[in-house]
C-alpha cells in the first residue's frame, strides 16, 4: 500500500511541478548487483557494503520524493521522504526544513534555517535524499552522515561575499541525534547509499546484541538527555571555483544516559568530530577531498566507559558536465576503541577504491556502472570465526529515473 502511494506520488509529481513556487523532485532506482561480500549489518553481520552475498541479482535501490516550496521570496520550505526496502520496508522523512533568507544589496547576507536537516558535512552528496551525483555509493564519511547524523534544530548563517573570495560562517543548535555514533562503534565504517530518516531504525551487527536476542535495532535521531548539541562551520570560497569547509560537530550527549528501543537499551553516545573538506573545479572536472576525525563515547556505569576514536579521508576526481561522467575515489578509514585495557576491543582499518561511470542520455535518466574494491580489517570478525581481514567486491549497474 505504501509502495503504491509513493509510486502514485512520483507519477503525479511532474504535473504538480508546474505549479508556481511548488516544485517536486524525486527518483526511482533499480540496480543489477554482483559481488562477493560478507553479510552486512542489515543481515546482522560485519560486512561493509550495502549489498552482501554472492552472484548477480536485481535490487530495488530506493525511491525518494522531495518538495520545495518558495513560500515567499525570502522563505523556502524543503521536505523529502524516501521509500526503502533494504534493512526495513517503509517510508521515512529524511529532511524537513524552512529557511528564511532575506535578500541583501550589500556584501553581507544572513539566513536562518529551522527543522530537520543534514549537517553541512558533505562536499559530495548534494542530490535528492542525500545521494551523490558522482557515484551510487558515497564515501565512508558521507555514508555515515546518511545513516546516523541529522540535526533537528536551528542554523544561523552569515556570509560576506566578495568578487574573488567569499566567507561564510554557520552555527547550529540541535536536539536529538543522541545515539549517533553507536554504529561506528558497533560496526565501524560502511560504504553504502542506504540513508536512514525519521521514522526508520537501523540494525546493528548481531554481536552488539548483548542484552537481548538479535536483531538489535535503534533509532539514531532521538533525544535522550535533553542537552542541546551544536555544530559550527566555516566555509571559504575562492573565485567561485573552489570551496574549503571546516566543520565541528558535538552532539553533547550525556554518555551516562540511555533509552529503550524495542526492548533493548540504547545509550547516548557523546560524539564529536572535526571535518575538513576541499572542492575545486578544473574545467569540467571536480576534485574533492575530505577528512574527518572524532570520537564517540559511552559511560554505561560508574565502573565502565569506552570511547571509539574514528577517522576517514577520501580523494575523488569526477567529471560533472556532459553525458558521460566518470568518477574515481580513493579512501581510507579506521576506528580504535579505548581504553586499551579492554579485553575485546573493536578496532578496524580499511581502504577502498570506487570507480563509477555515469551516462545521462536524458535529463530524466541516469545510468551508472560502479565498482567498489574494499579491503578492511576488523578485530571483531574473530568472534564470528572469520579472518580479521576481508576483501569485498561489489559491482552495480543502476538505472535512476530522476525529475
Amino acid at each position: 500500500m505504501r509502495l503504491t502511494s509513493i509510486l502514485l506520488l512520483l507519477a503525479a509529481a511532474p504535473a504538480c511541478a508546474k505549479a508556481q513556487n511548488l516544485q517536486w523532485h524525486g527518483y526511482l532506482d533499480y540496480r543489477l548487483v554482483a559481488g562477493s561480500s560478507a553479510p552486512n549489518w542489515t543481515d546482522g553481520g560485519l560486512g561493509k557494503l550495502r549489498w552482501d552475498g554472492h552472484g548477480v541479482s536485481a535490487r530495488f535501490g530506493g525511491a525518494a520524493l522531495l518538495a520545495t516550496a518558495q513560500l515567499s521570496p525570502e522563505l523556502l520550505g524543503v521536505a523529502s521522504a524516501q521509500f526503502q526496502t533494504s534493512d526495513r520496508r517503509g517510508i521515512d522523512l529524511t529532511e524537513a526544513w524552512l529557511r528564511y533568507r532575506p535578500v541583501s544589496t550589500t556584501p553581507w547576507r544572513w539566513s536562518l534555517r529551522g527543522g530537520l536537516f543534514f549537517p553541512a558535512v558533505s562536499l559530495e552528496n548534494d542530490g535528492i535524499g542525500w545521494t551523490s551525483p558522482y557515484t551510487l555509493t558515497p564515501s565512508a564519511i558521507n555514508s555515515w552522515v546518511g545513516e546516523e547524523l541529522r540535526s533537528t534544530g536551528a542554523e544561523f548563517r552569515l556570509e560576506r561575499r566578495g568578487r574573488s573570495m567569499s566567507v561564510e560562517a554557520a552555527v547550529t543548535a540541535f536536539v536529538g541525534n543522541d545515539p549517533a555514533g553507536e554504529q561506528l562503534a558497533a560496526r565501524g565504517w560502511s560504504l553504502s547509499d542506504l540513508v536512514y530518516g525519521l521514522g526508520s531504525s537501523m540494525r546493528e551487527p548481531d554481536l552488539a546484541a548483548r542484552d537481548g536476542p538479535p536483531p538489535r535495532r535503534y533509532d539514531a535521531f532521538v533525544e535522550t538527555d535533553h542537552r542541546i548539541g551544536w555544530q559550527g562551520e566555516l566555509t571559504v570560497r575562492a573565485d567561485d571555483v573552489s570551496r574549503l569547509t571546516l566543520l565541528h560537530y558535538d552532539n553533547r550527549a550525556d554518555p551516562t544516559t540511555s533509552t529503550m528501543f524495542e526492548g533493548q537499551r540504547i545509550f547516548s553516545w557523546h560524539t564529536r568530530f572535526w571535518s575538513l573538506g576541499e572542492r575545486t573545479r578544473m574545467g569540467d572536472w571536480v576534485l574533492i577531498g575530505q577528512a574527518i576525525r572524532g570520537s564517540t563515547a559511552i559511560v554505561p556505569s560508574p565502573f565502565f566507559h569506552t570511547e571509539t576514536g574514528f577517522w576517514s579521508a577520501f580523494a575523488m576526481v569526477a567529471r560533472e558536465q556532459g553525458r558521460w561522467r566518470p568518477a574515481l575515489r580513493l579512501e581510507m578509514f579506521g576506528t580504535r576503541q579505548r581504553p586499551d585495557s579492554l579485553a575485546e576491543r573493536a578496532n578496524e582499518h580499511g581502504r577502498a577504491l570506487t570507480a563509477a561511470l555515469n551516462w545521462q542520455p536524458r535529463s530524466w535518466l541516469r545510468v551508472t556502472g560502479e565498482l567498489i574494491a574494499l579491503d578492511s580489517s576488523r578485530t571483531e570478525r574473530r568472534h564470528l570465526g572469520l579472518a580479521e581481514s576481508s576483501f569485498d567486491l561489489q559491482a552495480q549497474l543502476g538505472a535512476r529515473l530522476v525529475f
Binding site: K18, A19, Y27, P73, V78, D126, D239, D240
Partner: protein, 219 residues
C-alpha cells in the same frame, strides 16, 4: 593645368589617407585555442585619431531572460543611460538582485512576468544573482567606451570604420580571475591597412554556472 590637377590630387590624397577607415576583427580564444563567447571588447583612442569616434547610440532597453534557472544572455553590454528588464520564463519565482557598487537593486520576478526597466546610469560592472537560486549568474557591463562589443560563440567581434590612430583595447570576461590585471592591448591602426586582426588569448576560471541537473539540489 596638368600641374594644377596634380597638386589638387596630392592635397586630396593627403586629406583622404588619414581618414581611411579600417575593419578590425578581434578573435578571443582560450588557452586551448577554443573560442570564448561573452567576452566584452572595449576600445578607447590612446592618441589623437584621424576621425571621430562613433556616436553613442540612443538609450536602449535590453532584456535579460531567465530560463531553466539560467540568465540569458550570460553577459550583456550597456551604455550609461540604458535600461535593463529581467524577464522570467521559468515556472518558479526569481529574486533578481545585485550588491555591486555600480548599481545595487533587488526585484522579485514572478513566473511569466518582467520587471520594470532599471536605469543603468553609471559605467561599471554589475554582477547579478538570484537570491532564491544561488547558482544563477549574470553580468551587466556598462561602458561609455566609444567602441564596445561582445564576442559571439565563435569568439569574434568586428569593428567597422576604425579611424587611423592608436587605441587601447581591453578585453573582459566574468571568468577572468579578479586577481589578474586587466587584459589590455595597444593597437595601431595605420593608414595603409584596411583589414586588421587582433587575436587575444584569455586564461579563464571554470564556468561557475551549473546547468539545471535533476540529480542535484541547488538550494
Amino acid at each position: 593645368m596638368r600641374l594644377y590637377r596634380l597638386v589638387l590630387a596630392g592635397f586630396g590624397l593627403a586629406f583622404w589617407l588619414p581618414a581611411m577607415a579600417a575593419v578590425l576583427n578581434v578573435q578571443v580564444l582560450d588557452d586551448h585555442g577554443k573560442p570564448i563567447g561573452d567576452a566584452v571588447v572595449s576600445m578607447v583612442a590612446s592618441a589623437a585619431t584621424a576621425g571621430d569616434p562613433p556616436a553613442l547610440p540612443v538609450a536602449q532597453t535590453k532584456i535579460i531572460d531567465q530560463r531553466r534557472e539560467t540568465f540569458l544572455p550570460y553577459v550583456e553590454i550597456f551604455r550609461p543611460g540604458d535600461r535593463v528588464v529581467f524577464r522570467n520564463s521559468d515556472t518558479t519565482r526569481h529574486h533578481v538582485y545585485s550588491f555591486s557598487p555600480t548599481r545595487s537593486f533587488e526585484m522579485v520576478v514572478r513566473p511569466g512576468r518582467s520587471t520594470a526597466p532599471l536605469l543603468l546610469d553609471r559605467a561599471g560592472i554589475v554582477a547579478v544573482g538570484c537570491n532564491i537560486h544561488d547558482h544563477m549568474r549574470n553580468w551587466l557591463f556598462v561602458s561609455s567606451a566609444p567602441w564596445l562589443a561582445i564576442t559571439d560563440a565563435a569568439g569574434q567581434v568586428r569593428f567597422d570604420a576604425m579611424p587611423v590612430g592608436k587605441y587601447t583595447v581591453t578585453v573582459w570576461h566574468p571568468q577572468l580571475s579578479p586577481r589578474q590585471p586587466p587584459v589590455e592591448r595597444q593597437l595601431d591602426v595605420p593608414a595603409d591597412r584596411a583589414d586588421m586582426k587582433l587575436p587575444v588569448t584569455l586564461s579563464l576560471l571554470p564556468d561557475p554556472r551549473m546547468p539545471m541537473d535533476h540529480n542535484r539540489m541547488q538550494y
